[in-house]
Protein backbone atom coordinates (compact mmCIF):
# COMPACT_ATOMS: atom_id res chain seq x y z
CA UNK A 1 0.00 0.00 0.00
CA UNK A 2 2.93 2.29 0.73
CA UNK A 3 4.12 1.89 -2.85
CA UNK A 4 0.69 2.77 -4.19
CA UNK A 5 0.55 5.87 -2.05
CA UNK A 6 4.03 6.89 -3.12
CA UNK A 7 3.16 6.47 -6.76
CA UNK A 8 0.24 8.83 -6.17
CA UNK A 9 2.65 11.38 -4.75
CA UNK A 10 2.24 10.75 -1.05
CA UNK A 11 4.82 12.53 1.03
CA UNK A 12 4.97 12.12 4.78
CA UNK A 13 6.09 15.71 5.62
CA UNK A 14 3.14 17.11 3.69
CA UNK A 15 0.88 14.71 5.51
CA UNK A 16 2.25 15.87 8.85
CA UNK A 17 1.96 19.51 7.86
CA UNK A 18 -1.67 18.94 7.00
CA UNK A 19 -2.42 17.22 10.30
CA UNK A 20 -0.77 20.00 12.28
CA UNK A 21 -2.39 22.76 10.27
CA UNK A 22 -5.77 21.15 10.57
CA UNK A 23 -5.48 20.74 14.32
CA UNK A 24 -4.47 24.38 14.67
CA UNK A 25 -7.41 25.43 12.51
CA UNK A 26 -9.74 23.23 14.54
CA UNK A 27 -8.52 24.79 17.77
CA UNK A 28 -8.81 28.35 16.47
CA UNK A 29 -12.23 27.89 14.92
CA UNK A 30 -13.47 26.25 18.09
CA UNK A 31 -12.30 29.26 20.02
CA UNK A 32 -13.39 31.99 17.63
CA UNK A 33 -16.33 30.50 15.76
CA UNK A 34 -18.12 27.48 17.18
CA UNK A 35 -18.12 28.25 20.87
CA UNK A 36 -19.15 31.91 20.78
CA UNK A 37 -21.67 31.41 17.99
CA UNK A 38 -23.30 28.37 19.55
CA UNK A 39 -23.47 30.18 22.88
CA UNK A 40 -25.05 33.15 21.15
CA UNK A 41 -27.55 30.93 19.35
CA UNK A 42 -28.44 29.22 22.63
CA UNK A 43 -28.76 32.52 24.38
CA UNK A 44 -30.95 33.91 21.64
CA UNK A 45 -33.08 30.79 21.63
CA UNK A 46 -33.51 31.05 25.37
CA UNK A 47 -34.34 34.73 25.25
CA UNK A 48 -36.93 34.12 22.54
CA UNK A 49 -38.43 31.30 24.54
CA UNK A 50 -38.51 33.50 27.62
CA UNK A 51 -40.10 36.30 25.67
CA UNK A 52 -42.78 34.01 24.32
CA UNK A 53 -43.43 32.55 27.75
CA UNK A 54 -43.57 35.99 29.28
CA UNK A 55 -45.98 37.18 26.64
CA UNK A 56 -48.15 34.13 27.29
CA UNK A 57 -48.09 34.74 31.03
CA UNK A 58 -48.86 38.42 30.56
CA UNK A 59 -51.75 37.57 28.29
CA UNK A 60 -53.18 35.12 30.81
CA UNK A 61 -52.68 37.64 33.58
CA UNK A 62 -54.45 40.32 31.58
CA UNK A 63 -57.31 37.96 30.84
CA UNK A 64 -57.59 37.11 34.52
CA UNK A 65 -57.55 40.75 35.48
CA UNK A 66 -60.16 41.57 32.88
CA UNK A 67 -62.44 38.88 34.27
CA UNK A 68 -61.84 40.08 37.79
CA UNK A 69 -62.64 43.65 36.83
CA UNK A 70 -65.76 42.55 35.03
CA UNK A 71 -66.90 40.67 38.10
CA UNK A 72 -66.11 43.63 40.28
CA UNK A 73 -67.90 45.98 37.96
CA UNK A 74 -70.97 43.77 38.00
CA UNK A 75 -70.77 43.63 41.79
CA UNK A 76 -70.42 47.37 42.01
CA UNK A 77 -73.40 47.87 39.75
CA UNK A 78 -75.48 45.55 41.86
CA UNK A 79 -74.34 47.26 44.99
CA UNK A 80 -75.21 50.64 43.55
CA UNK A 81 -78.64 49.37 42.70
CA UNK A 82 -79.06 48.03 46.20
CA UNK A 83 -77.97 51.33 47.66
CA UNK A 84 -80.38 53.16 45.44
CA UNK A 85 -83.20 50.87 46.42
CA UNK A 86 -82.33 51.23 50.08
CA UNK A 87 -82.13 55.00 49.78
CA UNK A 88 -85.46 55.12 48.01
CA UNK A 89 -87.02 52.98 50.69
CA UNK A 90 -85.47 55.05 53.43
CA UNK A 91 -86.70 58.22 51.79
CA UNK A 92 -90.17 56.80 51.55
CA UNK A 93 -90.09 55.79 55.19
CA UNK A 94 -88.85 59.19 56.23
CA UNK A 95 -91.59 60.84 54.23
CA UNK A 96 -94.19 58.73 55.97
CA UNK A 97 -92.70 59.45 59.34
CA UNK A 98 -92.54 63.15 58.72
CA UNK A 99 -96.10 63.22 57.51
CA UNK A 100 -97.24 61.19 60.52
CA UNK A 101 -95.35 63.44 62.89
CA UNK A 102 -96.81 66.50 61.30
CA UNK A 103 -100.26 65.03 61.58
CA UNK A 104 -99.86 64.14 65.24
CA UNK A 105 -98.32 67.54 65.88
CA UNK A 106 -101.26 69.21 64.22
CA UNK A 107 -103.70 67.11 66.17
CA UNK A 108 -101.94 68.02 69.38
CA UNK A 109 -101.97 71.69 68.49
CA UNK A 110 -105.66 71.57 67.73
CA UNK A 111 -106.31 69.77 70.98
CA UNK A 112 -104.32 72.30 72.90
CA UNK A 113 -106.12 75.12 71.20
CA UNK A 114 -109.43 73.56 72.02
CA UNK A 115 -108.41 73.14 75.65
CA UNK A 116 -107.28 76.73 75.75
CA UNK A 117 -110.56 77.85 74.30
CA UNK A 118 -112.47 75.79 76.83
CA UNK A 119 -110.46 77.16 79.69
CA UNK A 120 -110.93 80.72 78.49
CA UNK A 121 -114.58 80.05 78.14
CA UNK A 122 -114.78 78.66 81.67
CA UNK A 123 -112.87 81.61 82.99
CA UNK A 124 -115.13 83.98 81.13
CA UNK A 125 -118.16 82.22 82.44
CA UNK A 126 -116.84 82.36 86.00
CA UNK A 127 -116.02 86.04 85.66
CA UNK A 128 -119.40 86.70 84.15
CA UNK A 129 -121.03 84.87 86.99
CA UNK A 130 -119.33 87.10 89.56
CA UNK A 131 -120.22 90.18 87.61
CA UNK A 132 -123.81 89.07 87.24
CA UNK A 133 -124.03 88.34 90.94
CA UNK A 134 -122.68 91.77 91.84
CA UNK A 135 -125.01 93.41 89.36
CA UNK A 136 -127.90 91.37 90.63
CA UNK A 137 -127.19 92.30 94.22
CA UNK A 138 -126.79 95.92 93.21
CA UNK A 139 -130.04 95.75 91.29
CA UNK A 140 -131.71 94.11 94.23
CA UNK A 141 -130.36 96.83 96.50
CA UNK A 142 -131.78 99.46 94.17
CA UNK A 143 -135.11 97.67 94.19
CA UNK A 144 -135.07 97.38 97.96
CA UNK A 145 -134.22 100.99 98.15
CA UNK A 146 -131.51 100.67 100.55
CA UNK A 147 -127.89 100.10 100.00
CA UNK A 148 -126.41 97.13 101.35
CA UNK A 149 -123.30 97.28 103.42
CA UNK A 150 -120.13 95.93 102.13
CA UNK A 151 -120.26 92.96 104.49
CA UNK A 152 -123.85 92.07 103.54
CA UNK A 153 -123.00 92.52 99.93
CA UNK A 154 -120.20 90.02 99.97
CA UNK A 155 -122.23 87.61 102.03
CA UNK A 156 -125.12 87.80 99.59
CA UNK A 157 -122.90 87.31 96.54
CA UNK A 158 -121.31 84.25 98.09
CA UNK A 159 -124.67 82.74 98.92
CA UNK A 160 -125.96 83.51 95.45
CA UNK A 161 -122.95 82.08 93.78
CA UNK A 162 -123.00 78.94 95.86
CA UNK A 163 -126.63 78.42 95.00
CA UNK A 164 -126.26 79.26 91.35
CA UNK A 165 -122.96 77.41 91.09
CA UNK A 166 -124.76 74.12 91.35
CA UNK A 167 -126.87 74.95 88.29
CA UNK A 168 -125.76 74.17 84.82
CA UNK A 169 -125.28 77.21 82.67
Amino acid sequence: MGAILESLGFEFPKFLWQVVNFLILLFLLKKFAYKPILNMLDERKKSIEDAINNAETAKNEAEKMRKEYETRLAEAKQEAQEIMAKATKLGEEMKHEIVANAQSEATKAIQKAQEEIKREKDQAIAALRDEVAVLAVMAAGKVLGKSISVEDHEKLVKEFVSEVGDLKC
Binding site: M1, L5, L8, G9, F10, E11, F12, P13, K14, F15, L16, W17, Q18, V19, N21, F22, L23, I24, L25, L26, L28, L29, K30, F32, A33, Y34, P36, I37, L38, M40, L41, E43, R44, S47
Partner: protein, 241 residues
Amino acid sequence: MSAAAQEGGGIHHGPADPLFDITIPGTDFHLPIYNFVITSWVIMFILVFTAWLATRNMHRMPKGIQNVWEYIVDGLFSFFGGIMGEDRARKYGPFLGTCFLYILLSNYSGVLPGAAMIKGFVPPTNNVSITAGLAVLVFLSVFYFGIKAKGISFFKHFFQPMAFLFILNVIEELVRPVSLSLRLYGNVYGEETIVAQLGEMVPLLVPVPMMVLGLLTGAIQALVFTLLASTYIAGATEEHH
Protein backbone atom coordinates in the same frame (compact mmCIF):
# COMPACT_ATOMS: atom_id res chain seq x y z
CA MET B 1 9.37 15.65 13.07
CA SER B 2 13.02 15.13 12.30
CA ALA B 3 12.26 11.87 10.54
CA ALA B 4 9.61 13.61 8.54
CA ALA B 5 11.95 16.39 7.57
CA GLN B 6 14.61 13.99 6.38
CA GLU B 7 12.10 12.06 4.35
CA GLY B 8 10.60 15.22 2.90
CA GLY B 9 13.98 16.60 2.04
CA GLY B 10 14.62 13.88 -0.48
CA ILE B 11 11.39 13.95 -2.44
CA HIS B 12 10.49 16.85 -4.67
CA HIS B 13 7.38 17.06 -6.75
CA GLY B 14 6.98 19.70 -9.42
CA PRO B 15 9.01 22.87 -9.56
CA ALA B 16 10.07 24.51 -6.34
CA ASP B 17 8.22 22.37 -3.87
CA PRO B 18 9.00 22.90 -1.03
CA LEU B 19 9.07 26.58 -1.80
CA PHE B 20 11.78 27.04 0.83
CA ASP B 21 13.20 25.46 3.93
CA ILE B 22 13.38 26.96 7.33
CA THR B 23 16.48 25.81 9.17
CA ILE B 24 15.98 25.71 12.90
CA PRO B 25 18.96 27.63 14.31
CA GLY B 26 21.58 25.50 16.03
CA THR B 27 20.37 22.22 14.52
CA ASP B 28 20.56 20.41 11.23
CA PHE B 29 16.78 20.39 11.06
CA HIS B 30 15.07 21.74 7.96
CA LEU B 31 11.40 22.59 8.05
CA PRO B 32 10.12 22.44 4.49
CA ILE B 33 7.50 25.05 3.64
CA TYR B 34 5.48 23.68 0.74
CA ASN B 35 3.31 25.68 -1.62
CA PHE B 36 0.18 24.10 -0.25
CA VAL B 37 1.20 25.03 3.26
CA ILE B 38 1.10 28.69 2.28
CA THR B 39 -2.30 28.22 0.67
CA SER B 40 -3.44 26.40 3.79
CA TRP B 41 -2.30 29.25 5.92
CA VAL B 42 -4.16 31.73 3.73
CA ILE B 43 -7.31 29.63 4.03
CA MET B 44 -6.84 29.29 7.77
CA PHE B 45 -6.22 32.99 8.08
CA ILE B 46 -9.38 33.85 6.12
CA LEU B 47 -11.50 31.49 8.24
CA VAL B 48 -10.06 32.46 11.59
CA PHE B 49 -9.88 36.17 10.84
CA THR B 50 -13.50 36.42 9.64
CA ALA B 51 -14.61 34.28 12.57
CA TRP B 52 -12.72 36.56 14.92
CA LEU B 53 -14.34 39.61 13.31
CA ALA B 54 -17.74 37.96 13.60
CA THR B 55 -17.48 36.96 17.24
CA ARG B 56 -15.28 39.73 18.58
CA ASN B 57 -18.23 41.89 19.47
CA MET B 58 -21.39 39.82 19.23
CA HIS B 59 -24.85 41.29 19.24
CA ARG B 60 -28.12 39.64 20.01
CA MET B 61 -29.39 41.12 16.76
CA PRO B 62 -26.81 39.78 14.30
CA LYS B 63 -25.63 41.83 11.40
CA GLY B 64 -22.90 41.75 8.79
CA ILE B 65 -20.18 39.15 9.23
CA GLN B 66 -21.72 37.83 12.45
CA ASN B 67 -24.83 36.92 10.48
CA VAL B 68 -22.73 35.09 7.87
CA TRP B 69 -20.86 33.04 10.45
CA GLU B 70 -24.01 32.31 12.42
CA TYR B 71 -25.60 31.11 9.23
CA ILE B 72 -22.61 28.86 8.49
CA VAL B 73 -22.37 27.39 11.99
CA ASP B 74 -26.10 26.97 12.40
CA GLY B 75 -26.38 25.37 8.97
CA LEU B 76 -23.53 22.94 9.62
CA PHE B 77 -24.72 21.98 13.09
CA SER B 78 -28.28 21.38 11.99
CA PHE B 79 -26.93 19.27 9.12
CA PHE B 80 -24.92 17.14 11.57
CA GLY B 81 -27.84 17.19 13.96
CA GLY B 82 -29.95 15.53 11.28
CA ILE B 83 -27.42 12.72 11.04
CA MET B 84 -26.50 12.07 14.67
CA GLY B 85 -28.89 14.10 16.80
CA GLU B 86 -28.40 17.52 18.26
CA ASP B 87 -26.47 16.44 21.37
CA ARG B 88 -23.78 14.58 19.46
CA ALA B 89 -23.68 17.27 16.79
CA ARG B 90 -22.67 19.66 19.57
CA LYS B 91 -19.76 17.41 20.50
CA TYR B 92 -18.47 16.41 17.09
CA GLY B 93 -19.71 19.36 15.05
CA PRO B 94 -16.59 21.48 15.49
CA PHE B 95 -14.36 18.76 14.00
CA LEU B 96 -16.73 17.96 11.15
CA GLY B 97 -17.51 21.60 10.44
CA THR B 98 -13.82 22.41 10.26
CA CYS B 99 -13.38 19.53 7.80
CA PHE B 100 -16.11 20.92 5.60
CA LEU B 101 -14.96 24.54 5.66
CA TYR B 102 -11.32 23.68 5.09
CA ILE B 103 -12.03 21.29 2.21
CA LEU B 104 -14.52 23.65 0.60
CA LEU B 105 -12.15 26.59 0.62
CA SER B 106 -9.27 24.34 -0.49
CA ASN B 107 -11.28 23.11 -3.45
CA TYR B 108 -12.37 26.60 -4.37
CA SER B 109 -8.89 28.02 -4.04
CA GLY B 110 -8.02 26.16 -7.24
CA VAL B 111 -10.87 27.78 -9.13
CA LEU B 112 -9.62 31.29 -8.53
CA PRO B 113 -8.31 32.80 -11.77
CA GLY B 114 -4.59 32.70 -12.03
CA ALA B 115 -4.32 30.50 -8.98
CA ALA B 116 -1.76 28.28 -10.67
CA MET B 117 0.46 31.24 -11.59
CA ILE B 118 1.09 32.48 -8.09
CA LYS B 119 3.88 30.81 -6.19
CA GLY B 120 2.69 29.13 -3.09
CA PHE B 121 -0.84 29.02 -4.35
CA VAL B 122 -1.86 25.39 -4.82
CA PRO B 123 -5.21 23.95 -3.80
CA PRO B 124 -4.25 21.74 -0.88
CA THR B 125 -6.84 19.10 -1.67
CA ASN B 126 -5.32 18.14 -5.04
CA ASN B 127 -2.49 16.41 -3.23
CA VAL B 128 -2.98 12.93 -1.82
CA SER B 129 -0.74 13.64 1.16
CA ILE B 130 -3.13 16.36 2.28
CA THR B 131 -6.33 14.43 1.73
CA ALA B 132 -4.69 11.49 3.48
CA GLY B 133 -3.93 13.78 6.39
CA LEU B 134 -7.58 14.70 6.63
CA ALA B 135 -8.75 11.13 6.21
CA VAL B 136 -6.37 9.83 8.87
CA LEU B 137 -7.65 12.50 11.22
CA VAL B 138 -11.18 11.26 10.57
CA PHE B 139 -10.00 7.68 11.13
CA LEU B 140 -8.37 8.61 14.44
CA SER B 141 -11.29 10.76 15.49
CA VAL B 142 -13.63 7.80 15.03
CA PHE B 143 -11.58 5.89 17.59
CA TYR B 144 -11.10 8.89 19.82
CA PHE B 145 -14.76 9.89 19.93
CA GLY B 146 -15.90 6.25 20.02
CA ILE B 147 -13.74 5.34 23.01
CA LYS B 148 -14.56 8.61 24.71
CA ALA B 149 -18.28 8.03 24.32
CA LYS B 150 -18.50 4.29 24.99
CA GLY B 151 -15.24 3.27 26.63
CA ILE B 152 -13.94 -0.19 25.93
CA SER B 153 -17.31 -1.34 24.61
CA PHE B 154 -16.55 0.72 21.51
CA PHE B 155 -14.53 -2.25 20.26
CA LYS B 156 -17.51 -4.55 20.54
CA HIS B 157 -18.78 -3.48 17.17
CA PHE B 158 -15.77 -5.16 15.53
CA PHE B 159 -17.25 -8.50 16.60
CA GLN B 160 -20.75 -7.82 15.42
CA PRO B 161 -22.93 -9.25 14.17
CA MET B 162 -20.68 -12.37 14.40
CA ALA B 163 -17.29 -12.73 16.00
CA PHE B 164 -15.71 -14.30 12.93
CA LEU B 165 -16.46 -11.14 10.95
CA PHE B 166 -13.78 -9.35 12.98
CA ILE B 167 -11.30 -9.37 10.08
CA LEU B 168 -13.86 -7.94 7.68
CA ASN B 169 -14.78 -5.23 10.15
CA VAL B 170 -11.15 -4.26 10.60
CA ILE B 171 -10.63 -4.11 6.85
CA GLU B 172 -13.72 -2.00 6.50
CA GLU B 173 -12.43 0.38 9.14
CA LEU B 174 -9.04 0.61 7.41
CA VAL B 175 -10.46 1.10 3.96
CA ARG B 176 -12.45 4.10 5.05
CA PRO B 177 -9.55 6.60 5.25
CA VAL B 178 -8.15 5.27 1.99
CA SER B 179 -11.43 5.74 0.18
CA LEU B 180 -11.99 9.11 1.80
CA SER B 181 -8.61 10.48 0.83
CA LEU B 182 -8.51 8.99 -2.67
CA ARG B 183 -12.02 10.14 -3.51
CA LEU B 184 -11.33 13.71 -2.54
CA TYR B 185 -7.88 13.79 -4.08
CA GLY B 186 -9.04 12.11 -7.29
CA ASN B 187 -11.95 14.43 -7.85
CA VAL B 188 -10.08 17.63 -7.20
CA TYR B 189 -6.93 16.54 -9.01
CA GLY B 190 -8.95 15.30 -11.98
CA GLU B 191 -10.91 18.50 -12.14
CA GLU B 192 -7.78 20.61 -11.93
CA THR B 193 -6.04 18.57 -14.56
CA ILE B 194 -8.91 18.78 -17.02
CA VAL B 195 -9.20 22.53 -16.60
CA ALA B 196 -5.45 22.89 -17.00
CA GLN B 197 -5.32 20.71 -20.12
CA LEU B 198 -8.31 22.41 -21.71
CA GLY B 199 -6.83 25.77 -20.84
CA GLU B 200 -3.62 24.83 -22.55
CA MET B 201 -5.41 23.73 -25.70
CA VAL B 202 -8.09 26.46 -25.91
CA PRO B 203 -7.39 29.10 -23.32
CA LEU B 204 -10.56 31.07 -23.96
CA LEU B 205 -14.14 30.15 -22.94
CA VAL B 206 -13.81 26.40 -23.42
CA PRO B 207 -12.58 25.69 -19.88
CA VAL B 208 -15.42 27.78 -18.43
CA PRO B 209 -18.04 24.97 -18.30
CA MET B 210 -15.45 22.74 -16.68
CA MET B 211 -14.69 25.47 -14.15
CA VAL B 212 -18.38 25.85 -13.37
CA LEU B 213 -18.53 22.12 -12.93
CA GLY B 214 -15.48 22.50 -10.70
CA LEU B 215 -17.44 24.79 -8.42
CA LEU B 216 -20.10 22.14 -8.14
CA THR B 217 -17.59 19.31 -7.61
CA GLY B 218 -15.75 21.33 -5.01
CA ALA B 219 -18.87 21.77 -2.90
CA ILE B 220 -20.10 18.23 -3.46
CA GLN B 221 -16.76 16.64 -2.55
CA ALA B 222 -16.49 18.74 0.59
CA LEU B 223 -20.00 17.69 1.49
CA VAL B 224 -19.42 14.02 0.68
CA PHE B 225 -16.23 13.88 2.75
CA THR B 226 -17.94 15.55 5.70
CA LEU B 227 -21.09 13.49 5.37
CA LEU B 228 -19.12 10.23 5.36
CA ALA B 229 -16.99 11.38 8.27
CA SER B 230 -20.09 12.26 10.25
CA THR B 231 -21.74 8.90 9.55
CA TYR B 232 -18.53 7.14 10.67
CA ILE B 233 -18.46 9.15 13.88
CA ALA B 234 -22.20 8.74 14.36
CA GLY B 235 -21.80 4.97 13.99
CA ALA B 236 -18.89 4.84 16.41
CA THR B 237 -20.65 6.81 19.13
CA GLU B 238 -24.09 5.32 18.77
CA GLU B 239 -25.60 3.97 21.97
CA HIS B 240 -26.90 0.43 21.47
CA HIS B 241 -29.93 0.20 23.70
